[in-house]
Subunit: 600 residues, 2 copies
Amino acid sequence: MTQSTPKILSIAGSDSGGGAGIQADIKTFTALHCYGMSALTALTSQNTLGVHQVHAVPVDFITSQIRHVITDLGVDALKTGMLYSKEVIEGVVDTLQELSVRAPLVVDPVMVSTSGHRLLNQDALTALQGKLLPKTTLCTPNIPEAELLTGRSIASVRDMLSAATRLNSVNTLVKGGHLTFSVDEVQRAIAEVRRGDFGDVGDVTNPTNVTVHGETFAAAATNNDSTNTATAYVLDTYAQLRGNPSTQGTHKSGEERLVVDILYQRPQGHLDIFIHPFVSSTSTHGTGCTLSAALAAYLGGSRSGSSRDTSACTRMTMAEAVQAALTYTRLGIEHSEGLGAGNGPLNHMHSMHRGTHITTPLTPRTTRQPTPLTTHLITTAGVWWDTYIAHPFVHQLATGTLPSSSFRHYIAQDYIYLLHYARIHSLAGYKSRSMGDLEAFARITSQIVQESAMHRDYCREWGVDEKTLMSTPESAQNIAYTRYLADVGHSGSLLDLVVAVASCLLGYGEIGRRLKTSANTGCPISPGVVCIKDNNPYWKWIEDYASDDFQAAVFDGIDMLERMAEEDHLGADHLAHLSNIFTTCCKLECGFWDMGLHRL
Amino acid sequence: MTQSTPKILSIAGSDSGGGAGIQADIKTFTALHCYGMSALTALTSQNTLGVHQVHAVPVDFITSQIRHVITDLGVDALKTGMLYSKEVIEGVVDTLQELSVRAPLVVDPVMVSTSGHRLLNQDALTALQGKLLPKTTLCTPNIPEAELLTGRSIASVRDMLSAATRLNSVNTLVKGGHLTFSVDEVQRAIAEVRRGDFGDVGDVTNPTNVTVHGETFAAAATNNDSTNTATAYVLDTYAQLRGNPSTQGTHKSGEERLVVDILYQRPQGHLDIFIHPFVSSTSTHGTGCTLSAALAAYLGGSRSGSSRDTSACTRMTMAEAVQAALTYTRLGIEHSEGLGAGNGPLNHMHSMHRGTHITTPLTPRTTRQPTPLTTHLITTAGVWWDTYIAHPFVHQLATGTLPSSSFRHYIAQDYIYLLHYARIHSLAGYKSRSMGDLEAFARITSQIVQESAMHRDYCREWGVDEKTLMSTPESAQNIAYTRYLADVGHSGSLLDLVVAVASCLLGYGEIGRRLKTSANTGCPISPGVVCIKDNNPYWKWIEDYASDDFQAAVFDGIDMLERMAEEDHLGADHLAHLSNIFTTCCKLECGFWDMGLHRL
C-alpha cells in the first residue's frame, strides 16, 4: 500500500434493512477502500416499506463511541446522519471540539422524512444551524432540507444557487434529486450564470467563479466550458441508438430530464454546477446516506481502485470529490436490484468486480453510459482528438476550398494506408480466439477494401489507374502511422490493437457526421466554418463517411471495443496504456492531415 | 448478473471501532458481493483496546428488526453473534421459527471474551445448547467455547475431533486458533485418523469419512491424500528462500507451527481437517465475526469475484464454503494494517483491488503464499504436471537405465528445441515495454544458449559435431511444442508467453531438484525409483538442472511471472486461458519425453 487506508467515522443511525444509515455508510466506505467506523445514534427496525420502530441511543453512549474510536484509531474524515435532538447535536459538536478533530466533516442534515414529515424539532434545528454547520466542511441538504434551513422555497436552478450560498457551513452541496429540469431550462440557467446574472447569491459575482460539469448528454448542451473538452456526437448517437433500449426510435432531444446539484465553496465563493440525466428508479432508499458517506471517503483520501495508485498522494479537490461521489451514488441507483417491496436500496458494489473504480474514469457499462472506454479514450486524447476532428484539412474539405493537389496527394497516400489498415485487421483476426471475432475481422477487412473503391473512383476521374496508385511512394507520415499499428499488433494483446484501429474509425465517423449535419443545418463545425454541399468537389467523400453503412460500422466497432474491455477487467496501468495508444493514433491522424495539406 | 445478489442477515452486536460485530459482518458481506442486513442485539463503545461500554437492545426490538427485514427483503443465509441472554436467544429462535426460515444459519457462539471471561450466564448457555444449536446449520466455536459447550478440555487434535462431534448443531466447525501444533503432531494425528483411530468420536468410524485439506507446506507433509495432487518442491524452496523474509536462512523444517480447524458434518458423519500455517499477528480482533460472516455469505450463495461467473449456479459444498471462508479470514489477518493501539482489526478488503476473489483460486501474494499464479498453474495442470515430472524417461535418467540411443535422440532434438526456446525469449523481449524486462529476456536468451553447451559436450563425446547437430531433422513433437510457443507469442500478450515458457523452466527445475535430492538421500522419487549418482551416465544432466545457477533462474522466472500477474489484474477468463496454455505445454513436454524414449 502506498499510503494507509483512510479511516472514516460515521455518526448516524442503524437501518436494519441495510440500505441506509451506518450500514450504507460501511458498505460505501468498504467499496471505496476505506476503513469504516461508526458511532450509532439511533436504531431503526426498518425495511424498504419504511421505518417501523425507533430506538434512541443515549447521548452519553453516542459521545462515548466517538471518543473511544477517535482516541484509539484516529480519523481521516467524518459524516453525520441522523442526529435526533439538540442534546445529541451539541454532544457531537462538543466531543469533536474536545478531541480537536480537524478532519473533514460532512453533514447530511437529516431533517425531513421521505413522506415530508419534520424529523427535528425547532431546538434541534437551531442547534444544527448554530453549532454544527459552522464546523461543517460540507453540508449536503436536499431541496426540502435546504428550504427548511434557508426559510426560502426552491423551484428553479436559480433558487438552488441562492440556497447553496446561504447555509453557514464552509461548503454546501444542494442536491437536486427532488426537482428535474428540461434541457432548455438548464441551458438558460447556465447562460444566465455565465452572463454574471446569478440572482440573489450574495458574494458570488464573477462568472469565472462558476464551473459547469456535465455528462455526455449535457456536455453537448454546455459545449463551451464543459470540463469535457473533447466531445463526440458518434457517442451520443450510439447511446441513443444502442445504449438505452427504452428510447430507441422514440428519443426526442429536449424530452430528457436533467438533475442539477450545486456546490458552493467558501472562502473563494466558487460555484460548481453538476448536471446529469435524471435516473428514474424506485431504488433510491439510502441515496443521501450513500452520497455523504462517499463524500467523506473521498475527502478522507480515498482513491479506491488500484492500491498501487501512487498519484493517490494528492488529495482530491472538493469539486473532484463531489463529482466522484455523485457518480458513485448514481451508479448505485443504476445498478440497483429492486430488493424488497418498497423503495429498494442502492447497489454499493457496482464497481467492485471490475477491480478498478470510478476515480479511474472507467465506469461499468450502463444504459446511461454504454461507452465508458470509448468515452475515456476520447476524453484523455483531449486536444489531440479535437485537432484531429477539426483540422484545417477537414475544414477545407467542408468548405470545398481544399486545393485539389492536396486532396490528390492525400487520396493516394490514404489508399496505401487502407491497404495496411486492412492487413492490420487480418492480423487482428489471427490474434482472435473466437469464431465470432474471426468472422468480424474478416468482414471488416472486406469492408475496408470496399471503402477504397472511393479512392479508385476519384483517381479514375483524375486519369490515375490502380497500378500507378498502388506504386505511390509512401510518405514518412504514412509509414509512421501504419507501422505503428502493426507494432501494436505484434507487441500487445488483441484489445491493444482494437483500440489502436479505433482512432481512424471513430474519427472519420465523427467527421462525416459533423460535416453532413453542418451542410444540412447550416450550423458551423467550428466558428465560421460551415460545410457546403453544392459545388463542393469533396461532397462524395463527406457522404461516404456520413453514410448509414459507415456509421453502422462505427457503432459495430464501439460494440466490440466495449465488449472486449468489459471482458478484460482493465487495471489502471493497462487503461493508461490504451489511452496512450489511442492518443498516439490521434496525433498520427493529425500528421496525416498535415501530410495531405502540405503534400509532404 | 447471472443470479441475484445473496442477502445475508447478521444478528449481532455493534462494534464502534469497526473491527467486529455487524460492522465486520457488513464489510465481509460486501467484500464477498452479498447484500448485508443487520438486526442489532447490543451496542458497544469499543476500540482496539477493548470494550468500554455496552448498551443492550430490548428483545422486542431485536425480534422486530429480524421480522421486518425477513418479511420484506427475504434472506439467503444468517449468522448470529452476540446474543446476550436466554430471552434474546429464545426470541431469535422463536422469530425464525415463526417466519419459517429455512436458509442456512451460522451460529458463532460468543460466550467467552478474549480475556477469558464468561459472557453468558448458565440460563443463556442452556438456551443456546437446547434451543438454538438444534436449528443451527453450522456452529463455529473456538477452543474455549467448545470446551464450555462440551464440558471437556481440549489440548490436542484428537480432543478437537471429539469436541466437533459432540455439539448438537447440524454441522460444527471447531476453530483451532487458540492452539498451535508442530508438523509432527499434525502428521501423527492424521496418520491415526487414517488408520481409523479417531478416539472418542461416536459415530465416526470409517477412514474414508475423513478429508484432509492443507496449504503448500502441509500438503508436502500429507502428500498421499491431499487434495493438491500436484506438488512442486521448487515452490516450497522458493517460498522458503524468497517468500518469507523472516525465515530466510533460519527456517528449520519442524519449527513451523500449524493451526487445525475441524469440520464435522451430519448426517453422514464426515470429518474435514483443515491445516494451515499459524499466522502470528496481533491484528486478530474480529476474526470470529469475520469467519462466521464469510461462512454465511458462502453458504448463502456468494461466489464473489466475476459477476459473469455462470458456474455460480451450483452451491458450494459445506467443506468448500469452510475452506473459502478460512482463506478469506486468514488473508484478512495477513493483510491487516495494525490500526489502533491494541489488537487491530482484519483487512476485509484484501482481494478487492484485484477484481477477482478467492473462489477463483488466485489469491493475492503474501509472504505465506508468494506464488499464487504458479501454484494455480501447477495445480490445474494436475495429472499432466505429475506425468511430466515423473515420466518413465525421467525415471530412467534417474536410475541410469535409459537406453543411450534414446538419450542421444532426445539430446539432438532438445538442442534444436533450445534454439527455438531462445528465440521465443527474444520475441518476449520484443513484446516488452520496460528496460528491465528487455534486459531480463536478453539475459535469459544468453543463458539458454549457454545451457545448450551441455548438449554440444555430450555430442562431442559421441563424435557428433555442432554442424551435424544443427541439421538434425526436427521431429513432429518438437515442431508441435516450439511452434505452439511461437504462436502464443504472436497471438497474445507478454504474460501469455511468459506462462507458456514457464512449463519447461519449472519442470526441469523440479526434476533436477528431485533427482539430486533422491540421489543424496536415497529416498525414492516415485515408488521404487531411487536416483543414483555412481555409474550414472546421465549424472551430468541431472547436476546441470539441479545446479544453483539453474535453480536461481527458476526462481527468477517465478518472480517475473508473479509480478506480471499482479500487474495484470487477472480476470477469471484470462486466468483460465493461462491455465490452458500451461497445461498444454505440460502435455507437450510429456510428448517430448515420449519422443525421446521411443525415438520418434
